[in-house]
């Protein structure tokens, strides 16, 4: 198994190189550069060109690429033109916020999704099951920003129960105040994410359980005299959770990517909002690193999913 992991990791290197070249080329085609619209329009074009020359923006693509890789290997991923600091710092500042938000959102998603999926699968066609299906359709159909705006409007603006923007209160100073304030700011965005994120968990679990219920191995188990509750815990749930387990690798890496919509609407300073802001300000060095990071995370997610599936399903062996 370790051999497999090592080989898969090695295989990632060319994948990452190809990905970075692709992103580099696409970035080159994007209109404008960091100086577009940022600088006094009355400035002398010759001076602007001199600045471009100084920052190496006029160099040919391969030269720029190799320079970037050389720096990146030394831990220097470039500077953000917008935030006037290194890209590593910019991302580092937001990563913690995003991980906190995604972690809570994911935990809530599973806390809602697992029991509902299990119950509606076990008691399918009951009133409970039908309500869960309606919830599923609604949560699948409602766009994130609609519910997010509703939540902000009702619980943030009208009722004023929870903060509707930001990730921490400026007045929080001590450790406990800061921790509490962070948690408090997480409530609305994480609930919004969780409520809309349960569709696939519920749908997979429900159909898998309904299928497993009438499967022959369940008949065998019942004909052994195994009580029905034990049949569910020992036979049905384990088999029904396989598709969810296979998606869990992506869930883990998604903890780092954040949500553009949610972070934007709740003005939550995380990776998703950083991505959007960087696009709007044409902060290419940040965009480039973020896209590359998402790509690498996707690769890791695939590997993790394969490993998780291998751990839970003895039929799957990759080597």
């Amino acid at each position: 198994m370790w051999k497999t992991i090592f080989r898969r990791l090695l295989l990632m290197i060319p994948q990452i190189i190809i990905l970075s070249i692709l992103i580099f080329i696409i970035a080159e085609f994007m209109p404008g550069d960091p100086f577009t619209g940022m600088i006094d329009p009355n400035i002398d074009p010759a001076q602007l060109d001199a600045m471009r020359e100084r920052f190496g923006l006029n160099d040919p693509l391969p030269v720029k690429y190799i320079r970037w890789v050389g720096n990146a290997l030394q831990g220097d991923f470039g500077r953000s033109f917008n935030y006037k600091t290194s890209v590593v710092n910019v991302i580092g500042d937001r990563l913690g916020n995003t991980v906190r938000l995604s972690l809570l959102s994911t935990v809530l998603t599973y806390m809602i999704g697992l029991p509902l999926g299990i119950l509606s699968g076990r008691y399918n066609d009951s009133i409970l099951d039908k309500s869960v299906i309606i919830y599923n359709f609604v949560s699948f159909a409602v766009p994130t920003f609609v519910l997010a705006l509703l939540m902000v409007y009702i619980f943030g603006f009208n009722l004023g129960w929870f903060p509707s923007r930001g990730s921490i209160d400026v007045s929080a100073v001590t450790f406990w105040e800061r921790t509490w304030s962070r948690m408090y700011h997480l409530i609305l965005p994480s609930i919004t994410t969780a409520v809309l994120g349960t569709v696939s968990i519920i749908q997979y679990l429900r159909t898998e359980i309904i299928d497993a219920k009438v499967s022959d191995y369940v008949k065998t188990a019942r004909s052994k005299g195994v009580p029905i509750n034990k049949v569910y815990t020992k036979h049905i749930f384990r088999n029904a959770s396989l598709p969810i387990a296979s998606g869990f690798g992506y869930t883990i890496v998604n903890l780092l990517t954040g949500s553009i919509f949610i972070e934007q609407i709740f003005s939550y300073s995380g990776m998703g909002k950083l991505f959007l802001d960087s696009i709007n300000t044409r902060d290419y060095s940040v965009i480039f690193v973020l896209v590359l990071l998402y790509g690498i995370l996707g690769l890791i997610g695939t590997l993790l999913s394969d490993l998780i599936l291998m751990a839970v399903d003895p039929r799957i062996r990759i080597d």
Partner: protein
């Protein structure tokens, strides 16, 4: 002569499945008995209700969509009255079941050991060591080579024949007096079929249990069974000891079935088939002779209004009187 005791007695059992608001009987008034040391075969086409009957005896039908009436008498219990908790004491302990598809009937995520051990956990107070010993004993009994290694394996690592042996080991775990085998050899190739049938006969001789063997394969019946009940459209149409049934079949359906077995044909001779198909549950005529639409050349007056199962010779029961007038198409009576 000692009275042979009935292990299991089924009286007028009806099992109806729900279609919308109505229930349609897939098993429609079946009565039969199973004695010790006996292999009773239940034969019939797909859809005649034989598997439904087996599932009903195991009490495995979904109570929300099925209606069961009649009696299933075991010891001094009527199984149709049992609640789940009591039924779970019977299942696996008093009645073991062997299923058709040996891959599907094993949990793909559990080791062979755990699946066999599970049958023991709920019916014995064995400790781990005793369970292990019993599992090994069972694997040896069903002819598994290298049982120490095999019990750590998962079902997908075994061949079809091995899996079916495991399924049999599970059914045997608690030495049940009754074993129901639902098409145990259908999913296996012919050489393995013979091995599994041999194994079942050996087990029967060793344990003295009564086996209900459900099959559509008359070859399997001839090789294995002591007594045969032929089912058509939810009812038993003929019941006889195996040699009598093959030598002197009476009911038109039994005769048609036996006549459909491919034998060495002369050139130009056609293989005999039974006309039509088993009607689906909703469209099954509940009055009159159910086999009548499939033998249209027999005149109407040959059929009874309400054919009953009657004993025409000791241990030989036939439904209705149409058999007295039956002849194959093109033949003269």
């Amino acid at each position: 002569m000692a009275v042979e005791q009935n292990l299991l007695e089924v009286n007028n059992l009806k099992t109806g499945f729900r279609f919308g608001e109505e229930y349609h009987n897939a098993v429609d008034g079946v009565s039969l008995t199973l004695k010790k040391n006996e292999i009773l075969a239940i034969v019939g086409e797909s859809g005649c209700g034989k598997s439904t009957l087996a599932t009903a005896i195991m009490g495995l039908h979904d109570p929300n969509n099925t209606k069961i009436s009649g009696e299933i008498l075991y010891k001094d219990l009527d199984l149709t009255d049992l609640n789940e908790r009591l039924y779970n004491r019977i299942r696996g302990n008093d009645i073991g079941m062997i299923f058709q598809d040996p891959l599907g009937s094993l949990n793909p995520l559990m080791t062979i050991y755990n699946q066999i051990a599970e049958a023991l956990i709920y019916h014995t107070d064995f400790d781990d060591k005793q369970i292990r010993a019993r599992v090994l004993e069972l694997l040896n009994q069903v002819g598994i080579p290298r049982p120490e290694q095999i019990m750590k394996a998962y079902p997908h690592e075994l061949s079809g024949g091995m899996r079916q042996r495991i399924v049999i080991a599970i059914a045997l775990a608690n030495k049940p007096p009754i074993i129901i085998a639902d098409e145990p050899t259908t999913a296996l190739d012919v050489t393995i079929q013979a091995q599994i049938l041999d194994l079942m006969r050996d087990i029967q001789a060793e344990t003295g249990s009564g086996i209900i063997l459900i099959t559509h394969d008359l070859g399997v019946v001839a090789e294995t069974a002591d007594r045969v009940a032929v089912m058509y459209a939810g009812q038993i149409v003929e019941e006889a000891p195996v040699d009598v049934l093959f030598k002197d079949p009476k009911h038109p359906y039994t005769r048609s079935l036996l006549n459909s077995i491919p034998h060495e044909l002369e050139e130009g001779e056609e293989l005999h088939v039974i006309h039509g198909t088993v009607p689906s549950l909703q469209h099954l005529p509940r009055k009159g002779d159910r086999f009548r639409p499939r033998i249209p050349w027999i005149p109407d007056e040959a059929f009874d209004e309400n054919p009953e199962l009657t004993e025409i010779a000791p241990n030989h029961k036939v439904r209705g009187n149409s058999w007295k007038h039956f002849h194959f198409e093109g033949e003269e009576k």
